[in-house]
């Protein structure tokens, strides 16, 4: 009883909690995915803003280079002076008609300075192969191409050398092509100057770190207060716009920011709610369990009390019954002489009622033994019909007074092994029920049949009968059919239950058979022929 109760309570508690947890987790997962997407979008927007800063810086740098290139000149001394003094360009170049280099003056190799020679080493291939001069302005499809048109149609040429980005700004003017090779460290320094400091992040990025990464994966500059762990993967990254397209911006969220953005707070809230709910449900379950346990304890105390009382009653009752029967025998013997009718009747009543009380006590004790799995059989050799007859004899006076005719068709005359007390108890219960509820039928038919090691007894009355629903429940303990007929009739409600239990203990069963009028019970018992035991 108790393990079952615990199992049911556990189910009642755990199933809803599990369902809530699952639904919650699913909702969380969806919410988190949404937030992640939103977070990613937001960060990407921030990085785009940074990229815009870079673009403005590059544009400013371009303006400065253009300022240094203008007014356009072919004068070598002037170009050298500009190269010597330019903070932004490491070398200027001029290509003449047919794309020949005019400056640095390659035609006069012995006049070249060391810097010019090195510059030509860096860029020779570009001039020799016409990488810039063969490009037509209108054929360029740079993403920021439209911006170029605004400032003298100057354009970037980008290539890679010495593990890094190299840039040349060039512009065509008539037959000539003027170019400036960028001082790339200076460009980077200018970009860094325009980029934020440690704490100057956008509020959304404040807890993370942004890195500018060059084409070989080297961090050029970092900002933001939270240093990511070594080897951490960026949460968001984006390429820098042209001409620095080989560079990229990486954003590393600090765990707290990522956590907040990705809803670890959400998880916490949900978990807390769930735990509270679980605690509530558990407390409720525990309360019910304790109530139930207390009730059951009380019930079992009552049962044990009744049991004890029954036990206490049993011995005096047995004595009363025995002496009443002795008295009855004596009186009957005397009656034959003196015809003392009333005395005989009084004794009959005492005997019958004491038998009924014995049966009742027997039922109670059987029931409580059955609860404790302590029922056992004491088979003895005997004849079933004799026992039936004895029981019917006991009931004869009662039936007679209620005008009930007993119709017994004996069919089990062979000696066999069975527990007569058990049979007596079952039949007593059935007969008692007829007396109490079905006396109106006016007849009690009892038939017995014996075949091999089975005995079958049918008890049929012509009373009001039982409905199908009632029929299903009459064997439940403490069930009593409630209707006009049963009103005012006493009973414990355990008679049929204990009878069926005893029948099953005896290797058979007690069932209610369908019939048109009244109730028809069939008792079967396994009774091996005597001596075969």
């Amino acid at each position: 009883m108790k393990p079952k109760l615990i199992a049911v309570l556990a189910l009642i508690v755990l199933v809803p909690l599990a369902v809530v947890a699952w639904l919650g987790a699913k909702a969380m997962g969806d919410e988190q995915a949404m937030r992640k997407l939103g977070f990613h979008e937001l960060m990407l927007g921030q990085l785009s803003a940074v990229d815009a800063v870079l673009a403005r810086s590059v544009e400013a740098y371009r303006e400065r280079l253009l300022n240094e290139m203008q007014p356009f000149t072919l004068d070598v001394d002037e170009l050298r002076r500009r190269t010597r003094n330019s903070p932004y360009a490491v070398q200027f170049y001029v290509l003449g008609p047919e794309d020949r280099l005019i400056y640095p003056p390659v035609a006069l190799a012995d006049q070249l300075t060391l810097d010019e020679r090195q510059a030509l080493e860096r860029t020779q291939q570009i001039w020799d192969e016409g990488e810039i001069s063969n490009r037509r302005v209108d054929a360029l499809d740079s993403p920021r191409g439209s911006e170029y048109a605004s400032a003298g149609d100057a354009r970037w040429h980008v290539w890679y050398r010495d593990r890094g980005l190299q840039m040349i700004l060039w512009v065509r003017e008539g037959d000539y092509l003027y170019a400036a090779e960028v001082n790339r460290t200076r460009l980077l320094a200018d970009l860094i100057t325009a980029l934020p400091e440690t704490d100057a992040l956008a509020p959304e990025l404040a807890e993370g770190q942004v890195r500018l990464i060059d084409s070989i994966g080297r961090p050029l500059y970092e900002w933001g207060a939270a240093e990511p762990e070594e080897g951490a993967e960026p949460d968001v990254e984006t390429a820098v716009g042209e001409p620095l397209g080989a560079w990229r911006l990486e954003y590393y969220a600090s765990s707290s920011v990522a956590g907040a953005a990705l809803g670890s707070g959400l998880w916490w809230n949900f978990s807390a709610t769930w735990v509270l709910l679980a605690m509530g449900v558990f407390a409720l379950a525990l309360y019910f369990y304790r109530e139930q346990a207390a009730e059951m304890r009380e019930a079992s105390q009552r049962v044990s009390f009744v049991n004890q009382v029954s036990h206490e009653l049993k011995t005096p009752l047995t004595n009363i019954r025995m002496y009443a029967e002795l008295l009855e025998d004596n009186i009957r013997a005397r009656d034959a002489v003196e015809d003392n009718q009333p005395l005989t009747r009084y004794v009959d009543v005492i005997v019958f009622e004491s038998q009924r009380l014995s049966r009742l006590i027997g039922n109670v004790l059987s029931f409580s033994r059955g609860r404790r799995d302590a029922l056992d059989l004491h088979p003895k050799p005997g004849v079933v019909d004799d026992v039936i007859r004895r029981v019917l004899d006991q009931f004869e006076p009662a039936f007679e007074s209620k005008k009930v005719r007993i119709d017994f068709s004996p069919g089990a005359p062979d000696e066999t092994s069975f527990d007569p007390d058990v049979l007596e108890q079952i039949l007593g219960n059935l007969a008692s029920n007829v007396e109490k509820y079905a006396a109106s039928g006016g007849v009690l038919e009892v038939a017995s049949r014996q075949e091999a090691d089975r005995v079958q007894i049918t008890v049929q009355d012509r009373g009001p009968g039982l409905s199908a629903a009632e029929g299903r429940r009459v064997f439940e303990p403490f069930y009593r059919v409630h209707n006009r007929l049963t009103e005012g009739v006493s009973g414990t409600g355990i008679g049929l239950a204990i009878s069926r239990e005893l029948a099953r203990l005896h290797g058979g069963d007690l069932v209610l058979l369908p019939c048109e009028v009244g109730a028809r019970f069939q008792l079967t018992m396994s009774c091996p022929p005597d001596g075969k035991e």
Binding site: D75, V76, D77, R80, R84, N85, S86, P87, Y88, V90, P105, L108, D110, Q111, L112, T113, L114, D115, E116, N183, R184, T185, R186, L188, A189, D190, I192, T193, A194, E197, T198, D199, Q209, P219, L220, Y221, E222, W223, G224, A225, E227
Partner: protein, 451 residues
């Protein structure tokens, strides 16, 4: 076509120079803040085959009558990476705060600190409210990596806000470790230094302790014509800061551009110790700053094809342009040098200019020490030891001949280096000592003894 026009111009100029030389004698020119002196290693050259000779161009900063000085625009860039924790950062902050005392309210100061990331602690501002700047410096705390390039970039950005040719624009960089965020090769930092120098910004680098990259720090300083200091003990920072600020307040001229135009039968070979451009007959060099009571040199090696004995030979015209910070005007000084062909070798030797000869030996000694250092870098320990020993002997013998104590000191220094190439730990320190010494030599800057 253009070239032939130019050579025609040279011939004209050469003729003119002879005239100029005879007018301005002995070769020199001055205004109120600088004095230009052009000297030959010897006024005589042995007639006959082409001879190697040295031209020393000296520019001396003159002290002003008034105590006035040019206002400063200084960016202090402090390393606050994890390795600076403790005494180092405390001393650095103390030194920086103490240095502020030397400044005037109209000087502009900015303070930048860097670790993995960079902070502009004090944006460029006139030093009206000293207290705020001091407090800001005091709050700097050390942790993290070393974004040296970012720090210098931001510092330069602050300087640029008030970049003014009439201010002394200086970036003071302190680092104790290897740059590990952003560009970190000496070449890249040198390129940045060159760019800054062209805008009139000099970068002074202070290497603290034994773990910084001295090549990067000297390279950056050299490219921008700033100073370089090796400070082993953080407690010396205050005096180094003081020295640097002392320099900054003694600048009388800046943006010095030197052009040397060699005569026809003179071929420029190379410039000793510093970056310069040689283009045909022209030599271009620049210095960022000129300090009062100090002389800075440019040493040019030339090959002269002398004429017949007795003939006076034009060697070069020198033109120096600069910004006079006292008058806030651009000035140009011109001078030139001549030699006379002589038949007698003894006479040439007798007339030798001892000062120039010492400077030549010093520069060559520095070059050879640098070569020895490179050998040691390549792991050629024995060859490096021999190179240092040879250099020591070279300096020692010249010190004897020229009777110069400074050369003898350098001989001792090289001899010490030769003994330390074996031991990695000792060499790590010695290399920094050597780099600092060689840097000072190559700066070609000496206190001008009043003549």
């Amino acid at each position: 076509m253009m070239f032939s026009r130019r050579s025609h111009f040279y011939r004209l100029l050469a003729g003119f120079s002879v005239l100029a030389c005879s007018l301005v004698s002995p070769a020199g020119a001055a205004d109120d803040s600088a004095l230009l002196e052009v000297e030959m290693s010897s006024p005589l050259v042995l007639a006959g085959a082409p001879r190697t000779a040295y031209l020393r161009i000296g520019l001396r900063g003159l002290r002003h009558a008034t105590e006035d000085r040019a206002p400063l625009n200084v960016a202090i860039v402090l390393d606050r990476s994890g390795s600076m924790q403790g005494e180092k950062i405390d001393e650095a902050k103390r030194a920086a705060i103490a240095a502020l005392d030397r400044l005037r309210p109209d000087d502009i100061v900015s303070v930048v600190s860097y670790q993995s990331t960079v902070d502009v602690v004090v944006p460029a501002t006139k030093l009206r409210d000293r207290r705020t700047v001091q407090d800001a410096i005091q709050r700097i705390q050390a942790s993290g990596k070393t974004a040296l390039f970012g720090g210098v970039s931001k510092g330069a950005g602050e300087l640029e806000k008030f970049l003014d040719e009439n201010r002394v624009n200086t970036l003071l960089l302190l680092s104790d470790g290897l740059a590990n965020v952003g560009p970190s090769s000496p070449g890249e930092l040198r390129q940045l230094g060159v760019s800054l120098a062209r805008q009139g910004i000099s970068v002074t680098t202070i290497g603290l302790g034994l773990n910084y990259n001295e090549d990067l720090m000297t390279g950056l300083a050299m490219a921008s014509d700033g100073n370089h200091f090796f400070v082993e003990d953080a407690r010396d920072l205050e005096s180094v800061f003081a020295a640097e600020f002392g320099d900054a307040v003694s600048v009388v001229a800046q943006g010095v551009r030197i052009r040397v135009r060699c005569a026809d039968n003179v071929r420029p070979i190379r410039v000793l110790g510093r970056d310069a451009q040689i283009s045909g007959q022209d030599v271009y060099a620049s210095m960022n700053q000129l300090f009062h009571d100090q002389t800075r040199f440019l040493m040019l090696e030339v090959e002269i094809s002398p004429g017949a004995p007795g003939r006076v030979q034009q060697v070069a015209d020198v033109e120096v342009g600069y910004r006079n910070l006292m008058t806030a005007q651009n000035r140009t000084l011109q001078s030139s040098a001549t030699v006379t062909a002589a038949a007698n070798k003894a006479a040439v030797e007798r007339r030798k200019n001892r000062d120039v000869a010492v400077e030549v030996v010093r520069q060559i000694g520095a070059e050879q020490a640098q070569a020895a250092t490179i050998l040691r870098d390549k792991g050629k320990v024995d060859e490096a030891r021999i190179a240092f020993e040879k250099n020591s002997a070279y300096l020692e013998s010249n010190a004897a001949v020229l009777k110069d104590e400074t050369l003898r000191e350098e001989a001792v220094s090289n001899s010490r280096a030769s003994q330390k190439v074996d031991n990695d730990a000792e060499w790590q320190r010695e290399r920094k000592v050597q780099q600092e010494a060689q840097y000072k030599t190559r700066q070609q800057r000496i206190d001008a003894s009043p003549k």
